[in-house]
Symmetry: D2
Subunit: 313 residues, 4 copies
């Protein structure tokens, strides 16, 4: 269709990162115009401004944890909608400056979770190396890339090697082949796609005041309607020490009656609730539906209540 311009997707750059790789797994991206942005906020703002139709950003990593800046960027500013999630395997490489060989490596640096995940390989291949720890695997690569580095090699993603001009002395050195990074595809506000039976709903709940039990109240709004949580993380609101909001992934779709009632309950007990989207789970695991919480159960209860209110006992 010659008259139709291709879709435009923003992603957390630079080119060649895992995020681009994840974006390329989406069929819709195959003929689209892909644009790297230096920050997560930049990619999201491209969507907000209409410069991109969607943005793919990392949100959670089974090694280093959530990506705080993504959680924060989604929680503030103009609303956007998560429409998909993408999972990409995590791969570790041992990266060093040019000229270094494996048998010369005495001091390795990495994030503690990455160290924990490569312990088997380290024991077999570098039993005598000391292991320093950095704030992230990328930060470890930076520490190694520096000419006067006090480390010989970093455990990091292969892409960090390309970025910081390091050489991979070994690849795929992780003990756990299931480690993954999770990305979300974000668009401008729209009605969510139809439920599939295996969906997630993401939101941020800002508690009304910092009373003991506020978190339990939030959990209870989900539990009473039989909605399981797939992820819950506290995040500071940036207002004062000890003021948190909660970033939540719940099982189910906003169109599900049980999820809808839980959201309404949250809305009533929270200072604010930001809905981030309902979308198919990448792992296609159907939501657990407890007895009494199907849409039919909700409809039956609604009609029963109407009858009672009209005096038809």
């Amino acid at each position: 269709m010659p008259g139709v311009p291709p879709a435009r997707y923003a992603y957390l750059g630079p080119e060649g990162t895992f995020t681009e790789a994840a974006l390329r797994t989406l069929p819709a991206a195959s003929r689209a115009d892909l644009q790297p942005y230096p920050t997560v906020g930049g990619a999201l703002d491209a969507v907000r401004a209409g410069d991109a139709d969607g943005a793919l950003v990392p949100i959670e990593n089974s090694v280093e944890g959530s990506v705080p800046v993504t959680l924060d960027e989604l929680a503030i500013g103009e609303p956007v909608l998560i429409t998909r999630e993408v999972l990409l395997p995590v791969q570790f490489a041992l990266l060093a400056r040019s000229g270094m060989t494996l048998d010369q490596v005495k001091r390795v640096v990495t994030h503690p979770h990455a160290e924990a995940q490569c312990r088997g390989w380290l024991r077999r291949h570098l039993p005598d190396a000391t292991i320093g720890r950095a704030a992230s695997t990328a930060a470890a690569a930076v520490l190694v890339a520096d000419a006067g580095a006090s480390y010989d090699a970093a455990i990091a993603a292969p892409v960090a090697g390309e970025r910081y001009r390091l050489t991979a002395l070994a690849r795929n050195i992780g003990d756990n082949p299931d480690a993954v990074t999770r990305f979300v595809l974000v668009s401008r506000p729209a009605a969510p796609s139809a439920p599939t039976g295996a969906d997630k709903t993401s939101l941020v709940a800002f508690i009304r005041d910092d009373h003991p039990g506020a978190l339990m109240e939030i959990l209870d709004e989900f539990a009473v309607r039989g909605v399981n949580l797939a992820r819950l993380e506290s995040r500071p609101t940036g207002q004062a020490m000890g003021r948190y909001c909660f970033s939540i992934d719940a099982e189910g779709h906003i169109a599900d009656a049980r999820v809808g009632e839980a959201l309404r309950g949250l809305r009533r007990v929270c200072a604010d609730v930001r809905f981030l989207g309902s979308y198919p789970r990448a792992d296609a695991t159907p939501a657990t539906v407890r007895p009494g919480t199907t849409d039919a159960d909700f409809t039956d209860a609604e009609r029963w209540l109407e009858r009672l209110r009209e005096g038809r006992l």
Copy 2:
């Protein structure tokens, strides 16, 4: 209005009981036809059969506890609707057979709670008497009325003296002037009267199976919607030892959004829920309404959810 037949009210007889006294406190009863029935079930069945427009039956007594047969009769059979509650002060008298005098009383019998409530009077006037205990104050009167009675006097309601031909040796001997009996006025199914802001909703919840935590689930359905309970009693269902239903008075009216959602929740988690009525509280105490649980809060949350589902974030 010559052509209009007077209203007919059934009550737990016989004539002259507290129940009749309670019924006569109702303006509507002043020109009505009042009919005593030997049993609570009989009075309720008169309503069910159309032989009476309403029935007044005792449901709870601050001395001897709930009236189990009333709870059971309301819980089974054709549905009926509680439309009012009536509170009547409890008064205690010391009753004896004719000829007995106060200084001859050595052995008193009564229900343990009545003994507890007359302890001050007993200490002052009968410090040396032994106190036997009966299953009810009426049963105590029966034990005294018997010619070969092993008791000299009973503490019971004055009306029991009339009924069992006993003489009151002393009246108003209770230490607590606030003790009351609670009655409910029951009619055939109809739409409940409009909320007053100081209402109660009565119901019976039959748990789905006897799993640990079933009661907590029921309590949670109310708590999550900010609905306080004024009374909760377990009752056996008559099916097997350890199978209970819960007889509940909740604060608020079925027309209140928070009560309605709690009822719908109960309907979904329980095997059965029987709604018994929403009616003004006799003590006119307004319901406590927690922030986030007004009708306006529910309406706001409903509209918010609709907007989200339509993509208007």
Copy 3:
């Protein structure tokens, strides 16, 4: 042993009731001196005064519910200890005055739960009879025994026929052969017998003030330690309408660590807790022990805490 006087057991009389039958199922009662008392309180006071070594009283009935006077008598007065429970099958008979035949029976009276349990027999044998309802099956028998009775027959326990000189027109007419009455054997305070792994602990919890959530707090003290409840009933305290205590049977023995910690928790949150005894379950069902709640788990946690407090991390 000629010099040892036989044990003396009190029971709720008169002779010939189900309670005596239940007492006779105990081996210890076979050579004991059994003494009927007219009231539950009288039987318990015989134990308190040292006039009896034990007292057997009914506490719960799968047809008519708990026996309130027993719950109340155990909850107040000098403390006593429940040392055993006894279950006895409930049997129903159709009782009439002498001379009545089955085909003459037009009006039957009984407790609503008993009616519910004999519905099959009634449909087959008395399809046209009207069914009145009484406050108890014994009260139904009384209503029939009266010469001017408005009922032809009562559904009640066979023993009620003996007591009120009624004839059994039919026996074993209940649809549910598993219906039982539960009795408890009560002695003076003593250390409970050793745990068997299939025990119950009975107690009464008096809530501190009538705040919403008080019952949930009580339930939570048990739930957090993995202690299931076998029975929970609210009882008025006799002080004012709406003031309750909770009569509770918990699974497990006071010597179990999890039950002990739950009791200590109750003691701290309640105005008062009365321990009524730990004793073997009549049905010998072992308590469910959730992972993390064995005595060994509690001991391990205690030692771990001690180590931490001493700085041995």
Copy 4:
């Protein structure tokens, strides 16, 4: 005392950071030997190896949230003990490369929370500037320091200016003067210092398996003993997506009976619990102690249970 070597403190370097400033607020540091380390792990390992007597590391920031690497480093490896916390005000500066003037600034970059906290200043002084966002305020400074930078200025801590050779165009530009960073002083395992009545207890709870309700169970162990939480954060365990541990600061001291019982409860329901220390709160706010949860209440309940177990009812 010439013979006593000075204490040695490690801290997250390099020299001149906020962490050094925080360390210098401690009296004990005034005559000590202070040693910067490039990573949090390095500073903690210096303590573990005996190369330092204590290490000061940042743990939480009211702007950018918790310091994940510190949470992770404390949660794994050889146990260490938090003995103090230090709060230091957060200050923001507008940093630019040399030669830039305030009226030339068109593109600012910073962390979204920092942007939110400087919104008033930005509106007054740079109303037309575009605001890009970075993963941290330090990362924003890095983006600006780069010669080919696409940003003119960064909002960051003043210390970042020194580190990346940027000039402060404006200082103290935050709207909220209460913003703080929280640091903890960590030592080798030892018995915690005595309770002060205004203490915090830090720990990490690893849930046994990822069942719905695991977090609620953890919260309930604290709530039932009346222990409030000051901070709760989920952290991935690094094992698989969706496997979390919970980093928790509770009000109170491990020597408090209520905290001790809550910890024992956690130990029983969790796969593992790592105690990180009990120490005085920097803000000296006394713990809220709910009725029934004082040490005296626990002692009373313990003695009461002992009496019951011995038969002294």
